[in-house]
């Protein structure tokens, strides 16, 4: 009964009677000790008024200085209206809107005799300073990471693209959470189909609350059950800006320091922002290294198992004798060996995440070395296996994207099982399944396996290799952008001849 009444009341409009309004406020905000109602008399017009706000959601200094101060102390303006020093002021009359505003940290000014209420922007919740993004450090890039306030994040992106074509669409997602979600894109570059698709998907999300960006990505992805991520989540403004310029869309979720980039293709997970600031030859080398690491991380343990259990005839003579000897001491078959070591490594890794960082690093290294040594000496695992597992772990750390790394970790076990069952044939079938998944996936309508299939050789300038920036004057065709040519004229001016 009480609930229903409250619901009804929320839809009502503010009345002119101040006392009645305050009563409604008390009824709407029961059991909310951080809500304050400050009565005052506006000096400028002599009206009675009340300020309603949530204590720690507002910037109290601003409240005191910019609202209370002027309202109570200053003389009015010529037309008899009262003034405050607040930049953003809205007039609202529906209680649900006012309630929302108060929850967001605004201050509501109820004035006796007026049938509108005024919403003054005094947002000031606790937030942290801008820091280096922890998960995506860079050598040469900016050391700014996104924070938990959407407007600040958007501001950081705007710093990279101060251009009129950077458009935003705002949504509110979540029944209880009412999270602000913002879709950013370059209007003259991004494909409007894609933007509209994303728009539709975000609108269709029905959930209580989105706590983190990751949850949102699961709702808007094409294949949420798939192993591989179809959106990139980044904490870096420069990465986000660069993706927007390539024709992709960026989704900023309030209260989360990660933003989503969609649509993406497989190769996008191997690009980092440093690739463009370092020299192109080293950038190319690193890109190739990452691709190699990807495949090594997935297939190496499986390869080891396949060779040692099925096809040891291919081992070269010199290696055969040492390998045979070291395997001879171990009681477990290669698969069990590999499984044990991999699981141990995964546990170490997960443990390292929870521990505070100096201890975590030490534990990781010491743990790895000690365990590796001890286990070999005890004759439980052969030393070749330790090398394989260590190599695999290092390879999986090379990949710049955490979601992809996670996918790799799981894929590895699947391949190990296939190798156990069928040797090389199993590896190949596993590979076929992997490829089959990758090429069948779409990310918001664009092919995941682009630019390999469909074949777009012009995009290859920025995938496995990173050609000198001078040659990269087209946006990736894979993103189906409207505008292909980037606006750089560097190549032309150089050609005109300069000393």
């Amino acid at each position: 009964m009480v609930e229903q009444n409250r619901e009804l009341e929320r839809e009502k409009k503010v009345g002119a009677n101040l006392e009645a309004s305050v009563e409604i406020v008390r009824r709407l905000f029961t059991d909310t000790p951080d809500l304050f109602v400050r009565r005052l008399t506006i000096k400028q017009t002599g009206e009675k008024a009340a300020l309603v706000f949530l204590q720690d959601m507002t910037d109290r200094a601003s409240l005191n200085r910019d609202i209370l101060g002027p309202l109570q102390l200053e003389a009015g303006s010529a037309d008899g209206e009262w003034v405050t020093n607040v930049a953003v002021v809205r007039r609202e009359s529906v209680w649900s809107v006012l309630q929302e505003a108060i929850f967001e940290g605004d201050t509501v000014l109820l004035v006796d005799g007026r049938s509108d209420a005024f919403v003054l922007d005094t947002k000031g919740w606790p937030q942290r300073a801008i820091e280096d993004p922890q998960q995506e450090p860079s050598l040469k890039g900016a050391h700014q990471g996104f924070v938990e306030t959407a407007s600040q994040n958007i501001a950081m992106i705007r710093r990279y693209i101060p251009h009129g074509q950077l458009k935003m669409r705002k949504f509110k997602v979540g029944e209880r959470g009412n999270t602000n979600v913002c879709l950013l894109y370059l209007q003259d570059v991004a494909n409007p189909d894609i933007v509209d698709k994303l728009d539709k998907r975000i609108r269709e999300v029905e959930v209580d609350i989105i706590i983190n960006t990751g949850e949102l990505s699961e709702f808007i992805e094409d294949s949420p059950f798939a192993l591989f991520p179809q959106t990139i989540s980044t904490e870096r403004p420069d990465t986000a800006a660069s993706q927007i310029l390539q024709g992709r869309c960026v989704i900023v979720v309030d209260r989360s320091p990660s933003v989503l980039v969609a649509p993406v293709n497989f190769m996008a997970f191997f690009q980092t922002v440093d690739d463009y600031s370092t020299r192109w030859s080293i950038a190319t080398f690193l890109r190739l290294l990452r691709m190699f690491a990807f495949f090594a991380a997935i297939f190496l343990p499986g390869f080891y198992i396949a060779v040692l259990s099925f096809h040891f005839e291919i081992i070269p003579m010199k290696l055969l004798l040492t390998l045979g000897e070291s395997r001879g001491q171990v009681p477990f078959p290669p698969f069990v060996e590999a499984l044990l070591m991999e699981i141990t490594l995964e546990m170490l890794r997960e443990a390292g995440v929870r521990l505070p960082s100096p201890i975590g690093q030490t534990v990781g290294i010491v743990g790895g070395i000690v365990i590796g040594q001890a286990v070999v000496q005890a004759g439980l695992i052969s030393n070749i296996m330790v090398i394989v597992v260590a190599f695999t772990a290092i390879a999986s750390f090379i990949m710049p994207n955490a979601d992809m790394t996670a996918a790799v970790r799981l894929m590895r076990f699947f391949i190990m099982i296939m190798a156990l069952l069928f040797g090389f044939a199993g590896l190949i079938v596993g590979f076929m399944i992997l490829i089959g998944r990758l090429i069948g996936m779409n990310s918001v309508g664009t092919a995941y396996s682009s630019p390999f299939t469909p074949l777009r050789p012009s995009d290859w300038k920025d995938t496995l290799v990173r050609v000198p920036l001078r040659l990269m004057n087209m946006r990736p065709v894979s993103n189906r952008t409207k505008q292909l040519r980037r606006q750089s004229k560097i190549s032309d001016s150089r050609k005109r001849g300069s000393t």
Binding site: F422, F424, A425, G426, L427, G436, I439, A447, L455
Partner: protein, 363 residues
Amino acid sequence: MSAAKQPVSTTQFISVITGLQASVVFLALPSNLASAAGTDGWLAIPIGWMVSTVAAVVIVRVMSYYPQGTILDLLQHFAGGWASRLAALMLAFYYFIFAYDGLIITLLVTKEWLLPNTSVFILAVLFLAPGIMIAQKGLQVISRYALIIVIMSIWIPFVYLFTLHDAVWLNLLPMLKEGWGPVFSAVRVMLYPALGLTAVFFIYPHLTNKAAAASAIVIANSLSHGLYLFITFVCFVYFSPNEIDQFMTPVIYIMKSLEFNFIERVEVPFIAFYLLIFSLDSIPSMYFVSFCLKRMINKGSIGVYLGVFCAAVLTVMLVRSPSVGHIDDLNFIMALTGILVEYILPVCLLLFLVIRNKGKKAS
């Protein structure tokens, strides 16, 4: 039509056709040519190429009469439902044998070189699984897959260049030592390797660039035959003409001669890689079979028919356990059906369509 939603680019198209033609065939080709015509067998390849190019162009021309549909739609439009259903039946049968042949060869090669003690049945299930997974996603994904595998296999011919170290080029001389007779009889060996062109019947509506289809299929056919020529040369100069017909799969055997420091028995990882290439034969064929069946019965999704296909394959395998002699029988049936489907049928269709058009213009 759903065809528009699944576009296939030209390079993907080329990959699919080349894949269908070359993927399983290239293993034994040099032996077969040598048995038919000795070291002059390679001359049969250009002849076969010319004949199949003509067939290829005819097929594309036929499809251009009804660009928005597959051959079944074309027949339905021009000749009525019964013709379309008959064709569907024929093509389903043909591609079933195509796929079965490819699968059997894959299985036997795997069993012989990689896993001798595993039952063929289990291997069949193993290889059918990813096949079904990929085939049910439709022609677009199949074509993408073909393209990726082709890109990944580009380096393989270069490895064969290493075997030229021991090459005896004089094996090829003298040319035409017994005259043209044996060469022409060797052309029948080239019939089977050229099969696969009729994939155009199904892919044509999906092509993004239909105008380039004719040149694309010629490119694909030339690629396959170029490949055949290359490996035939390599095998002919390595193996003595007196010994080559003893090897069933000289293309694999020749790998055994390569010695590297870091790996013994080089052919094992190569065979594993070849399994990927072999899949290019069975996966599109699987899809075509299921597609035809689906059109005939008109109910259910492609996945169901793929399941039917697998059941059929496994049943046939249970009844007649695959063996090498089996392959020869299959090749024979395929050659016969192949002549019918890939050569006679398109020519008849073309004549039919041309006459019809002339008739329409006249009236």
